[in-house]
């Protein structure tokens, strides 16, 4: 399997959030905080988690999902757990 590139995952997260939250993709950077900067709530976060699970074959527990606060957290989670 091809090793995922950080930029590719970031782009996927950016694309998902921009579509679902109806915001300018340029507002979304690695350091962007979901709640404070994007006004996203738990439902938005779960939809992102499920999108990442479906796309990259990773599995995130409730506890892990609750710990995702920034775009970078989501990207690093996927990179750390991508199937070998």
């Amino acid at each position: 399997m091809t090793t995922l590139d950080r930029d590719q995952v970031l782009e996927k997260v950016r694309e998902h959030l921009a579509t679902e939250l109806e915001i300018d993709p340029a507002r979304i950077e690695a350091s962007t905080r979901f709640r404070e900067d994007l006004d996203a709530d738990s439902l938005d976060l779960y939809e992102l988690v499920m999108e990442l699970e479906d796309t990259y074959g990773v599995k995130m527990s409730e506890q892990e999902a609750a710990g995702i606060e920034t775009v970078s957290d989501a990207v690093e989670f996927v990179l750390a757990r991508q199937p070998a």
């Binding site: 109806e22 915001i23 439902l43 939809e47 409730e62």
Partner: protein
């Protein structure tokens, strides 16, 4: 046009599988195709009916389970399998009389929110005793305990589109539930929503109504937050039950009253049916990319059948597409409302 296929959760109904099967049988007799998910052994008699398929779903989610964790960890549960069946295509609508939290979560995760909707809302049709006009659509009755002004605005569009599409009301009168009819009455969310809705050309917004107007003829769509809506709905149900019992007791209190009670029985029976929650079948979760109906927890057979009929009607009338089109056309999506706020 072929009748829609409805995915029915075969578990979780408080009155048990036998009641659920009677309801499913009645809905199937109307020509609605059903895919029923649950204990295949217990539901086997249904599989003998034309247009009904039974799919074994070994798992169950109970009222005591935490909905998000349970839905994510039990893909073999009946409600999760039924919701997935709608998302993946064989079925076109979901109906469950199981735990409300689990049904809403399974529907949200599988069907996803309509593009631009921040919070879906649970809506029920209230009775309107003594009127020929369909009862008011009341939302939100419990999906969100708190709602922002923008959410209330979206609920108004969702309710208006559904009311027109499925209940057949032309230019539904849309109102906000508040503590007074004046535009400045209510919480800051209500006041802000009132200001936005007052400018909404696509809606027939008529202002505020009060709790006493819920069963009257003041509006066709009544919007509130899920906390208030749930309390109001349960208050109405409890009041109706208590008054009904008190009337029965009074009618049996002496021979003269008993004669009066007998004379009134046919009229009171009609009224009882009119205000029976089974009559409308359940609450529909508006703001999703598919149809999901949450049956009343204590649904009887008629309640189950009517919940399935409601779901089928929503599919036939393209309720999902029409609500999305109205939101989009009015600029009332999440992004549209945000842009409006920024322009102010």
């Amino acid at each position: 046009m072929p009748s829609p296929t409805v995915a029915l959760d075969g578990r979780g109904a408080e009155q048990g599988a036998d009641t659920l099967m009677i309801g499913a049988r009645a809905a199937a007799a109307d020509g609605i195709s059903l895919r029923v998910f649950g204990d295949a052994g217990a539901l086997a008699p249904l599989a003998e009916l034309g247009g009904v398929e039974v799919i074994d779903a070994p798992g169950e989610i109970a009222n005591t389970d935490e909905p998000v964790a349970a839905v994510r960890s039990r893909p073999d549960s009946s409600v999760v399998m039924a919701a997935a069946d709608v998302a993946e295509g064989p079925s076109e609508a979901l109906v469950s009389a199981g735990p409300t939290g689990a049904t809403m979560t399974a529907a949200l995760f599988a069907l996803r929110r309509t593009q631009g909707v921040r919070r879906p809302a649970l809506s029920v049709q209230l009775p309107r005793p003594g009127h020929s006009r369909p009862g008011a659509l009341f939302l939100d009755v419990g999906a969100n305990t708190e709602a922002r002004a923008g959410d209330l605005v979206q609920f108004a569009y969702l309710g208006s589109a559904f009311c027109a599409a499925v209940l057949g009301v032309e230019r539904p009168r849309v109102a906000l539930l508040s503590v007074g009819e004046e535009s400045g009455k209510g919480t800051s969310q209500i006041v802000d929503a009132h200001a936005t809705l007052g400018d909404a050309e696509e809606l027939n917004f008529t202002g505020n109504v009060e709790g006493r107007d819920l069963l009257g003829d003041a509006a066709d769509v009544i919007v509130t937050d899920g906390f208030t809506g749930n309390v109001a709905l349960k208050t109405l149900e409890g009041t109706a039950r208590t008054i009904g019992a008190a009337v029965s007791d009074a009618a049996r209190s002496n021979p003269m009253a008993a004669v009066g009670g007998l004379l009134l029985r046919p009229a009171l029976g009609g009224l009882r049916r009119e205000i029976d929650p089974d009559n409308t079948g359940g609450a529909i979760l508006l703001g999703l990319r598919g149809v999901a109906v949450v049956g009343h927890g204590s649904s009887g057979a008629e309640g189950i059948a009517n919940a399935v009929r409601l779901a089928a009607r929503a599919v036939e009338q393209r309720a999902v597409e029409r609500t999305g089109e109205l939101l989009e056309g009015a600029g009332a999506t999440r992004g549209g409302l945000r842009r409006d706020r920024n322009e102010e």
